[in-house]
Amino acid sequence: MQVTQWSEALSSWLMGLGLPGWAAIFLVYAVGSFILINYGMLSVLLLIWITRKAISRIQDRIGPNRVGKYGLLQTVADAAKLLSKEDITPYEADKIAYNLSPVLSVFGVLMLLAVIPFAPGLTGVDLNVAALYVVALGSIGIMAALMAGWGSNNKYALLAGFRVVAQLLSYEIPLVLAILTVVLLTGSMRFGQIVELQSLHIAGFNLGLGWLGIVMPGALIVFFVSSLAEAELTPFDLLEAESELIAGFHIEYSGMKFAMFFLAQFLNAWILAAVAVTLFLGGWQGPGVGLPVIGPLLGLGYFMIKVYGIYVLQQWIRGTFPRIRIDQMMYFAWKVLVPLMIGLIVAQAIIQKLPTPVAVQYVLIFIANVGVMAVVAYVLQKYFREEQMRTKRSFEPTSLIGSMQVSEKGTMY
């Protein structure tokens, strides 16, 4: 049973009760968005728990284990604590920007849930420009961070606000280009259709393993790295670098407003994982989704497994990677990712115009992607080697040579 049929059945039932057409449709959409938004809000409890447990294990700790089974209700207790905290408005804060910002940041993220295809037929709205919509609504999050940074009347928050714009706008470009490769290959920006095309039929049975990530691993990796930057996760968490900026643009926030920023951040990471799965890892596709009754349920299961898998991968990176400097961050976006994605798109456009069968084109695209990854790896390795040399040189005691002995190997006594 498709969910679109459910909504049609519900709206026709409501019209049967004597409601005018527009009111029935309005009510059905209201119910749908109510369910979707509440799902998003409640799933954050689970996401925060996963993050805490994963990072605890990486750091050789146990993590929360007192409230509820396996500490599952720890976040509920934390939310109750945050609700009871005093709500502070800093001196001379810009009241409009300060109070609007947490609301906007959650709003921008929740709007994205509308286009995510959870299972066959289970999607809020199958927008014909969904791929672009995801990127466009990301700008609301940037605006919210900027408003928070400016409205708090705090110089650290303001500095973080500048960093937000620099980082998120820079990484939006490789993100869009990576999405563009998928749009170029599938010829559609509709998420439903992109997922449909990733099936693999063998002898009439839908194996569901024609994932685009297999054909274009380079674009997948660029998308994943950019989404880490967009979600402000660890290698790119300059926005809340505790040692430099205290906590980023939300220093001055307390209580529920602070919680809203955190909710938006965790949900954003999850949604970007969901978009990565939809575009590159087949969405709800998997063995047996074409079956009549259990197919959609299987699809929902596959989708959730993939998305939470990516989410755990994000947390794994968060727990193990060091933070990069701001100049390295900008270097990586503009001098590595953007040129490579542009090269990849040009290569793919040429390959798709070649008079060869589709299978040959896929193989050629795969080869182009592997080439891209090789170039990224080469550039990074060369850059970090140079960087290492420069750091070593700057620590060499040039002015104190007389007072210190330097061995032949370069180590100091």
């Binding site: 527009w22 009111a23 309005f26 810009d94 409009i96 920007a97 609007l100 927008l127 014909n128 420009v129 672009l132 919509y133 990127v135 466009a136 609504l137 990301g138 700008s139 609301i140 940037i142 605006m143 900027l146 408003m147 400016w150 303001l158 606000g161 500048f162 714009v165 706008l169 939006e172 559609s188 920006m189 509709r190």
Partner: protein, 176 residues
């Protein structure tokens, strides 16, 4: 609906009702851009105006244009304006007056411009009403095809302009 003085008030349909809300939001936000005393609030109101215009595009069933509007205007232009205001500190804290000694003349010209626009809008035969339009993804495809066929020169010149702007920015920001 009949009002006491015999004035006929048409009841709006649901779509008209939502459209009135979007249009009001756009107009009020546009007014706030001009009359706000705080320059940063003007920038925020401008963002809201851009959203309102995107909403109007949605009513015209041009989702692609609406999303592009949000992507380009909210995501880039409004952000840059806010950024520029934040970097100019004296403007940021000083409560500047929205009026200067030319407000009388400029409001006159603004009114004349509005009259001219109204005249053009009434004179133009709009093709939209009741006609079959290219919808959905075919629209995006048709748009792309127009860009590389009929409007290819404009498209290329715009690309060149952006390139020049980019090179200029790099030149200005370069260490010497």
């Amino acid at each position: 609906m009949q009002l006491p003085l015999g004035i006929e008030v048409p009841i709006p349909t649901f779509e008209q009702f939502v459209f009135i809300q979007v249009a009001l939001l756009t107009a009020v936000a546009g007014l706030a851009v001009v009359i706000s005393r705080n320059l940063f609030h003007s920038a925020l109101a401008l963002t809201l105006t851009f959203f309102g215009v995107a909403g109007v595009y949605v009513f015209l069933e041009a989702e692609f244009l609406a999303v592009s509007q949000v992507l380009v205007y909210v995501g880039a232009i409004a952000m840059l304006i806010a950024f520029a205001i934040m970097l100019t500190r004296s403007m940021m804290y000083g409560r500047t007056s929205p009026l200067n000694n030319q407000w009388g003349k400029s409001s006159l010209f603004a009114f004349l411009f509005f009259v001219a626009l109204l005249a053009f809008a009434r004179a133009t035969p709009w093709p939209a009403a009741g006609e079959e339009v290219v919808a959905d993804e075919a629209l995006i495809g048709a748009l792309g095809r127009e860009f590389v066929t009929n409007y290819v020169i404009a498209f290329e010149v715009l690309g060149l302009l952006l390139l020049v702007a980019l090179v200029g920015a790099v030149l200005l920001a370069r260490d010497r």
